[in-house]
């Protein structure tokens, strides 16, 4: 009895303390809000928002609800995070490998890139890319077409929009080729394990990815045309591109700065991971007759990934959370749209901030769970 109490004592005290402190703040907030006549409630989410947002992945205007505005902000945050994570990963891996290159120039260039970009505060970099780019980019009427159809201007990057006919058939053909590739890979693995035979999986995959969609064009009735952006005059010296797709400069600047910044940290993770695999592994693999490609793919990478993944997960989380700096350059992310404009228009500070915090928490935990799952998959399988 005495022994158990001794074990439970500290935990119990901690729990009581946390509950009391939390309760004290809640109680205090309640009293203060009551004194100042502020109502608490989430009913505002269904009210009309009556403000517009610059850039949205779903249909939205001011006649939609605050909840819809929340979704717009959330999707924009996810968009910039996903693009940022993809670019940062590719760039990070390339730079990380380049830092180990025996070539002096490549090696030093990668090292300087890492040291430069990771040692400047991110907010400054965002401002730099946004305002420097704004100053440097041409006005719409002065923009030179890139490949005749892309226009990079101060008002954004304008790209041709795809206009599909029978898009669903094309989509199914892609799905079909992906399924076929997976089947072939499984088959190839079995073949290798049972008979030691190797088939060129990569070439077959590429072929499938081209041939099936090609058939969908030839016999499936799929057709694709482009809508090329056209210059439109608004006033004597004021122009804009009409038609096509436009990517706002805010999105471009934010993605660029987040990726360039985070890639430096990922590069260091990659370098550490590769250097963490002992040299003997490589020599041993070569001595049993694996070619350099196989050495990297079958021996070095599986071991390096175990070192690389956990710290890289942190970088993905950082990138997602750092995307909230978007508010500084008018990219309509969750913080700007919901914790900014919506908060101001409704005055529901506690409600909105709590929702926003909970959302970022959920986003981060989702990324963590995903990366932990991947980490487990590549970890040493103890038998």
């Amino acid at each position: 009895m005495n022994f158990k109490l001794k074990d439970l004592g500290p935990q119990l005290i901690t729990v009581i303390a946390v509950v009391l402190i939390f309760g004290f703040f809640t109680y205090n907030a309640q009293i203060n809000m009551e004194n100042r006549g502020i109502d608490f409630g989430y009913g505002f989410l269904s009210q009309e928002s009556s403000f517009d947002v610059q850039f949205s992945l779903i249909e939205y205007d001011g006649s939609h609800s605050y909840f819809r505005a929340y979704l717009v902000g959330l999707l924009n945050t996810i968009l910039v995070s996903v693009i940022g994570i993809i670019i940062a990963t590719i760039l990070g891996v390339v730079v990380g490998v380049a830092r180990l290159s025996p070539n002096y120039l490549i090696n030093k260039f990668a090292a300087y890139y890492v040291e430069f970009f990771r040692n400047i505060p991110l907010l400054l970099q965002i401002f730099f890319w946004y305002f420097a780019a704004l100053r440097a980019l041409p006005l719409p009427q002065d923009a030179e077409a890139i490949f005749g159809v892309f226009f990079l201007t101060i008002k954004g990057l304008y790209v041709p929009a795809f206009i599909w006919e029978n898009f669903n058939i094309f989509f199914y053909s892609i799905v079909a080729s992906i399924i076929a590739i997976i089947v072939i890979r499984i088959h190839a693995k079995k073949l290798q394990e049972s008979q030691g035979k190797q088939i060129p999986v990569f070439l077959i995959s590429i072929g499938l990815l081209f041939i099936l969609p090609l058939f969908s064009f030839l016999i499936g009735g799929v057709s694709l045309s482009f809508e090329i952006p056209q210059l439109k005059q608004l006033a004597a010296t004021s122009f804009v591109y009409d038609g096509g797709l436009s990517l706002p400069p805010e999105l471009i600047a934010l993605t660029l700065s987040l990726s360039l910044y985070t890639a430096t940290f990922i590069a260091e993770c990659v370098r550490a991971g590769i250097q963490g695999v002992s040299k003997g592994q490589k020599e041993a693999a070569a001595s049993i007759g694996l070619n350099p490609n196989q050495v990297l793919k079958l021996v070095i990478m599986p071991q390096a990934l175990r070192i690389i993944i956990p710290p890289t997960t942190n970088q993905y989380l950082n990138l997602t959370k750092n995307s909230s700096l978007a508010a500084a350059i008018a990219y309509p992310d969750l913080v700007l749209v919901f914790a900014g404009t919506a908060l101001m228009q409704t005055g529901k500070a506690i409600e909105i901030v709590s929702i926003t915090m909970f959302t970022y928490l959920s986003l981060s935990i989702s990324i963590s769970i995903l990366m932990n799952w991947y980490n487990k998959r590549i970890a040493i399988q103890e038998k």
């Binding site: 005495n2 006549g37 502020i38 205007d61 608004l234 006033a235 004021s238 500084a328 900014g340 005055g347």
Partner: protein, 346 residues
């Protein structure tokens, strides 16, 4: 076992102390804010992050502007010295939270008085120190001279967290024009983006446009269009629930406006004590007991006029002489064709 009991006791004691502290502060005195201000020795005032003419800090950190003068007037009335103000620069987004959470006691930051703000979020608007309306700024070279020339696809830079965003939508919707809103958190970034050509137009309160125009790389290249698309009565705000403090701020502003009406200036205030007019005598503290209602002495309004000046002096010093808006427009006294009309101080 005994060890944990001891820990528990100290924890309970700590929590108990916290609770008594709150109940003590909640036993509200008549004006908690006034009491706290006098104890601290300065007025805590929330202002903008830099809007010439309204609230703007110079290189030495001295704040000037008509919004700043409201806080200075309160400091003169309550503490006897117009310089005893601590200014907190706030973004549009932060301002109300700063006030309701008690970080500041007066918000004097070109804030539009609207029903939902007054009723919903624990604030009380005490008056209007500038009658404004939302307008648009464009480049002269664009040839646009009226909002009727706006076309589909126009991009408009503005601030988030303001009534501007809502008015802009109402305006473009009523005209049936599609537009691209580009909303920044800070005014300086809005100016930089518009100035670089990111947006075709910059929209905010007209006073704000006139003030920000001075920050452009070449102010002469920009014009403010004549149309006004909304009513924007700007004024100081206080927390709800302290009616004495609310009255002090309201009447500090009113005293400045009424002083102009009666021709009392910072230069002649002392000599006005011998005036024949009882209204003037009341305002300079030579008659009546007006300050007693707020718990202040009788010379509160005299100090405002002597140290800050009347409304006209403040306007001239901050807005007219700096070239922002030389014409007072609606912000002229009712006796001179404007709409400034305040209840009598008696």
């Amino acid at each position: 076992m005994f060890k944990y009991l001891k820990q528990l006791t100290s924890l309970v004691a700590m929590v108990a102390v916290l609770f008594t502290f709150t109940t003590e502060t909640m036993a509200a005195k008549k004006s908690k804010t006034l009491k706290n201000t006098q104890k601290k020795g300065f007025v805590r005032c929330g202002v903008s992050q830099g809007l010439p003419g309204f609230s703007n800090a110079d290189a030495a950190g001295n704040w000037t502007g008509v919004d700043v003068d409201v806080c200075r007037a309160v400091a003169a009335a309550v503490l006897g010295d117009a310089n005893k103000v601590k200014f907190t620069p706030l973004s549009a987004k932060e301002r109300f939270t700063a006030l309701t959470s008690g970080e500041i006691d007066i918000l004097s930051r070109n804030t539009t008085w609207t029903l939902s703000r007054d009723a919903d979020i624990g604030l009380t608007f005490v008056g209007v120190n500038f009658y404004d309306g939302q307008g648009f700024m464009v480049r002269k070279s664009s040839g646009i001279t009226s909002v009727n020339q706006f076309k589909n696809g126009i991009s408009a830079c503005t601030n988030i967290g303001t009534t501007t965003e809502l008015n802009m939508r109402d305006f473009f919707n009523s005209k049936g024009i599609s537009y691209e809103p580009v909303a920044f958190e800070k005014a300086d970034e809005v100016v930089a983006a518009y100035d670089s050509g990111r947006c075709d137009t910059y929209t905010t309160d007209k006073s704000g446009l006139a003030a920000q125009r001075t920050k452009m790389s070449n102010p002469d290249e920009h014009i403010v269009l004549p149309e006004t698309i909304s009513k924007e009565p700007l004024g100081p705000v206080v927390r709800q629930g302290d009616s004495v403090w609310e009255d002090i701020v309201r009447w500090s502003l009113n005293a400045m406006i009424e002083a102009e009406e009666y021709g009392i200036t910072s230069a002649n205030a002392d000599s006005m004590k011998t005036s024949e007019n009882p209204a003037i005598k009341r305002l300079v503290g030579a008659e009546g007991e007006l300050g007693a209602a707020f718990g202040l002495d009788n010379e509160w309004s005299l100090r405002i006029i002597k140290q800050v000046g009347n409304y006209g002096e403040s306007y001239k010093r901050n807005i007219a002489d700096t070239g922002i808006l030389p014409d007072r427009g609606p912000n002229q006294l009712w006796t001179k064709g404007g709409i400034l009309y305040v209840p009598p101080a008696r």
